[in-house]
């Protein structure tokens, strides 16, 4: 189990994470947030690489900052690129496994098994890492995280550089890890990458935990969020007045190019009504959601967190 209790981390006067509280039990968790949101700080706190300024972190029953023996039960795949000179994947993964306290022969066996699991067996594993593609480096990173058979697996942006087949294989591997009873924490700034593992979500932005829960809970939360939609129609004034009359939008803004941007909290009804309007010769030629990117979504969540929405 992983427990964060009112954890705040300050870098001087800069806030890394702010008053984080959550508990992770067996299962998969997607840690989602835009770049610079505090995901890596959270992971470093979890791995005992940073000491919380305030609050308490407990991982598998121990304080990771004080008791680093707990790291033997955790596998970490950091986001940073793997730059190891003069070593092959087999040599490097064996060495990383030896650092866990395994004898050389045992570490070599575990490394080979892990490299095979991530699809990097055979001659490729003996080539220098410096000659690897981004995808192969990603597999090597994952192999070192899995080799010692951890109970908790922490992956920071693990899909970077993987092709669709690689992503599919990685998802299968991670699902199997969770099925075997492990705890998986998967950090990413791309929602659909994480969704495939069917995790619970932790949504983090500006160092704050904005929302958490199962996929259905998060989906409900997102449905309830006010949505901004840009519409292009031949008669924007008439459409705006109909939408306001029907109480489906809270705000309408006419753009200089003739388009209009509306904000609605009743997205489902809003889209249904647009279909009705089309029968009244109020045709919408083009429509685009303004909150498509995760950054914008998190910006909305942040405003909701502050009570501005």
């Amino acid at each position: 189990m992983v427990e964060f209790e009112n954890v705040t981390k300050l870098y001087g006067t800069v806030i890394g994470v702010n008053d984080l509280s959550f508990t992770l039990k067996q299962g998969a968790y997607g840690l989602l947030g835009p770049n610079g949101s505090g995901k890596t700080t959270l992971i470093n706190l979890l791995m005992g690489q940073l000491k919380p300024t305030i609050g308490m972190v407990r991982v598998l029953g121990a304080n990771p900052w004080r008791d680093d023996s707990i790291l033997g039960r955790i596998g970490l795949c950091p986001a940073s690129e793997l730059l190891v000179a003069n070593a092959s994947a087999r040599q490097w993964v064996t060495f990383q496994t030896e650092l866990h306290g395994f004898r050389h022969d045992m570490a070599q066996e575990l490394a080979d098994r892990s490299l095979e699991k991530v699809g990097l067996a055979g001659a490729a594993a003996d080539r220098p890492i410096s000659t690897y593609s981004l995808g192969m480096r990603q597999r090597t990173k994952l192999a070192q995280a899995l080799a010692h058979e951890p109970e908790l697996l922490v992956l920071d942006e693990p899909f970077n550089g993987l092709d669709p087949v690689g992503r599919h294989e990685m998802n299968d591997l991670l699902r199997a890890f969770v099925k075997d009873g492990g705890i998986l924490l998967l950090a990413s700034h791309v929602l659909h990458e994480v969704e495939a593992v069917k995790p619970n979500f932790l949504l983090i932005c500006g160092g704050r935990l904005l929302a958490s829960g199962s996929p259905s809970e998060v989906r409900q939360l997102l449905t309830d969020m006010p949505a901004e939609v840009r519409l292009e129609t031949d008669d924007p004034q008439r459409l705006a007045s109909r939408l306001l009359e029907d109480g489906l939008v809270e705000r309408v803004k006419l753009e200089p190019d003739g388009a209009m941007v509306v904000m609605t909290r009743r997205a489902h009804e809003f889209f249904e009504q647009l279909r009705v309007y089309s029968g009244e010769s109020l045709v919408v030629r083009r429509m685009r959601g303004q909150t498509e990117s995760l950054d914008e979504l998190f910006s909305l969540l942040m405003r909701r967190h502050r009570g501005e929405l």
Partner: protein, 270 residues
């Protein structure tokens, strides 16, 4: 799970690091740097002896001291290059996050890499001393080569361990520009302060080290001269050994404690 078969020994992890680093260090680039460093003292010795050929017979001790000084510089340089970067190379190479996420990984990396650094520094220094003394022996002869070799190699090994510890500490303190800090330390402390005949020079590695070398190489009449006694007073071999051991113990312990407990920021993300 394989937890039951783990030795859980820090020594295993240190040896694994040392072996991995040793294998990686056998690269063409590093071997060329070693060759350049090891060949510098014999070449400069050769040039200086040939330049003084007419009066070569009067310069035996001077040449020994000259060899000691050039080999000392090589030792400090090698140590600076390889020991200062123990932590910073991991941070800059972005491999720190992997090794530090192992139980005892930070300490294993620091000690394992320190041992490899000391090994290569000692090898380079010993090669430089041996080659320089061979040049001296062929061109001048007449000295007690074995004693000189033993004194210089012992001092070289002591300097390797001591400077290695000091530079390891500087590398642990200065996460950025560790090499610059080490060069400043070398010039200020080991270059200037060690040459001041005052108590403060006791805090440097060079002061006790040069005392031991002088005691091993120079004849009694020089050791009893005013110049020598003004500089070293009644320092004594035991004091010099204790001072060196103290510097090694303190700097190494502080470096390891710092590496274990310091928060190294490895990502731009805050």
């Amino acid at each position: 799970m394989n937890r039951d078969i783990r030795s859980r020994s820090l020594a295993t992890a240190i040896l694994a690091t040392a072996r991995f680093e040793f294998e990686r260090s056998l690269s063409a680039g590093r071997l060329s740097v070693m060759a350049c460093l090891a060949l510098f003292p014999p070449c400069i010795t050769l040039i200086s002896i040939l330049g003084q050929a007419a009066s070569v017979g009067q310069f035996e001790q001077a040449v020994d001291v000259f060899i000691a000084v050039t080999c000392y510089i090589v030792c400090v340089l090698a140590s600076l290059i390889w020991s200062t970067t123990v932590v910073t190379a991991e941070l800059e190479g972005k491999t720190w996050a992997y090794s530090a996420s192992r139980p005892g990984g930070r300490i294993a990396i620091a000690i394992g890499k320190y041992l490899v650094s000391c090994f290569w520094t000692a090898i380079v220094t010993t090669l430089a001393i041996t080659a320089s003394l061979m040049v001296r022996s062929v061109l001048i002869g007449g000295g007690n080569e074995l004693q000189t070799w033993l004194v210089l190699v012992s001092a070289g090994v002591a300097a390797t361990v001591a400077y290695g510890s000091v530079f390891l500490l500087l590398g642990a303190i200065f996460q950025r520009r560790a090499m610059v800090a080490a060069i400043v330390y070398g010039l200020l402390f080991e270059g200037i302060i060690a040459a001041i005949p005052a108590v403060i020079s006791n805090l440097t590695v060079r002061y006790p080290l040069t005392y031991l070398v002088f005691r091993g190489l120079l004849p009694d009449n020089i050791l009893k001269s005013d110049f020598f006694t003004t500089f070293y007073s009644d320092y004594g071999i035991l004091n010099a050994i204790i001072a060196l051991a103290g510097i090694i113990l303190i700097t190494f312990s502080v470096a390891i404690a710092l590496i274990r407990y310091r928060e190294f920021i490895t990502s731009d993300e805050a």
